[in-house]
């Protein structure tokens, strides 16, 4: 639940999602679910010439398993808190 929780805190922020097929989508994170499927609104492809079919797409749903990277705004992330959350999760696992 760690990354679900993490992405929940980023809902509403602008992110860039890079998929495994090399498509990079920039937009506002609208929602995320436990499988880390991502819904984005107001998207734009970072390289429009290569993907003209995406010109008219404004919102999208991305299956979690096809995501390679999610680029986040650095000031929206508290890395210390993330470390703590990871430690807690690890602790929970052990129990």
């Amino acid at each position: 639940m760690l990354f679900y929780s993490f992405f929940k805190s980023l809902v509403g922020k602008d992110v860039v999602v890079e998929l495994k097929n090399d498509l990079s989508i920039c937009g506002t994170l609208h929602s995320v679910d436990q499988y880390l499927n991502i819904k984005m609104t107001d998207i734009s492809v970072t390289d429009p010439e290569k993907y003209p079919h995406m010109l008219s797409v404004k919102n999208c749903f991305i299956r979690g398993s096809v995501v390679r990277y999610v680029q986040l705004p650095a000031d929206e992330v508290d890395t210390q808190l993330l470390q703590d959350a990871a430690r807690k999760e690890a602790m929970q696992q052990k129990q």
């Binding site: 639940m1 805190s9 609208h30 404004k58 919102n59 210390q80 430690r87 807690k88 696992q93």
Partner: protein, 684 residues
Amino acid sequence: MDDSEHPEETGESVPDASWPENGDQWSDKGEEEDDECGLLQEMAEEDEEIDLYNEETFGLDEATSGDNPAADPMDLLLLCSDNSPTPPSSPPPPPISSSPHSSHLPSRPGYRVWPHTPTGRSQRGRVGRGQLFDDPAVVKTVAGRPSLKSLDSAIVDCSLSSYWEDLNSNTWMIAPQKSSKPPAASILQDQAIVGVIDRSRHGRVPPVSPNFLSPMRPFSTSRGRRGPPFVGSFNQRCHYQPGGFLSPSRPLSTPMPQTPKLMHLQFGTDSPRPAPFYSPSANIMQGFGAPGPVAQFHPQHKRLLSQRQQRPHKKQVSWDPYSQIMSDKEKEWIIRLQMIQLQSENPHLDDYYYQEYYQRMENKLAEEEFLGDRLKKEPPKLTTPYVTKALSYIPVVHIEGSLGQVAVSTCFSPRRAIDAVHANTSDEEHKDIRQQKRLEVLSTIEKLYIVLLEVEEANKMKATVSDKDEERRLMQNIKRKVDQLYNELRCTNLLDSGEEFLSCLLISKGKRMLARLLPFLSHDASLHILSVVTKNLPVLMSKDTDEALTVLYPSLRVVIDRLAFSQLIRILKEFTATLPDSKDTRLTLACQNKFGLSLLYALLSQGERLLSSDLPMEPSIGDFETWTDTVFHVARQLSQTTLVEPLLLPSNLLTLFCRYLDKRTVHQLKNNMESATGYLAVAS
């Protein structure tokens, strides 16, 4: 599966039935049953409201749909298949079984395809046998959009209802047919629909089969279009929920007493519109408040989102022909299904990052607002409901005598094949010893981090708990853990250098840990750490490649502010003493380092504060001389060397210097300090 149960339950009410043929009789029977159950009466009322809603949404009235009674079942397919008169035996591709299946159905008396399943129901999916196809929405949409999708939607409805039928055999809610619409019974003879129903009878058709739904449909439905009419009837539909929602929740899990409350929170009849959670109800831009109807945001998060929305997002989504495939209820239902899986028994732990992040943000904002003399009242925080999980899972099963482990893989721990055991190898290599020691220190720190987290948690709980005994117990617990941390950190020796704390101070993680531990330590302990830091400042500064020392500054500042004069003097003496292996003092080195300089400033500032305040000090002999000497020394050094920018420039430094030094030196000093910081060092 559960269909077999149905005949027993319903057998008495519906006599026979060749299902498609006796559509007329069904409706009559339906009315009889109405009296049997009060719940059904409610459903009937809701049906009327749905009718109203349908009219508003689709611009239909009973009359028009009534005019269509003799709608040829073939029309459905005809329309769907590109206006070519295809015979029903060649139905469109999606899983529609062929005619042999339909023969099963008449043999099932009283087969009720569409019990009233409110959550899954769309406005189309009104119940009552035969009513589905009669529903003006279905008819109309089919007529309007001769495409596969419309057929799909009908199928989806069917499968949905039969799914809930399976689950809810005892919550048999049938809405009787109130309207006098003759059912378009002939439609029921439609191969496609018959086939699907049969399919769902035989096997579980997932309520939302991905095949059926158009993959091309963007998730943002054109709620905008539907906005105005929907809004009008929203209230009416509101109380549709509580009764209706129970059906999916009941079979699915543990008791959820919060659910009606949830509903109330979200869909209370007086709830403002658009309700922040109810995103599908409005234009997607407007409804940014929630990704789903049950997404519950921290109030802080909500505020952020709403602020964001105020930015002009004026684009209107044009009418989307596929937007009615699923109704809002259906969408909500699916989202709720997902949310149910996410309900945790310990939301604070499972959802730790999110909760903590927004709590901290809230605290920070509250502080700022407090400083600005503005207090905001936060509404009570909503969290995912708290349920007790019955089952626990064992991630790894170890069979005695076997090598490795049998891993039970779940989504949390996919696979654990081996235990990565930390082997203590004795290495002869000199380099490796250092490396190994470092790893040991790192692992110690990591283990201690857990203890630190427990301390912080206990501390937070202490603030909230009211019971005195509990509080005392917590405090004891905290103290014990803090002592453990202190002792363990002290003893980790890197290369037997003999200096306490040094090994963990040289590692960034250790610095952070100490910074977090310092607030919990007693004054003496923290003083000890401060002196260690000061003494080893050159080493620390030289090895601080990633500027991690600065994390220590805030905690040390707090410690310094509590120093007594003589303690302060002792620390300051370290600064001016020459180092054993070089002719520099710590002072000269500190001027080049942000942290060192800030530390120095902090110490001087504290001294000045102590001296200028009226508090009685107990200086030891020679303290004042040492103090004056130090000040001179520092001033001379500061004015000569170029300074780096400190983390914080205390305001009373110049006052201090003015008192002891001549004007020229002070002026020089001031210039030097200001040039580093870029803003004026105001002499207060």
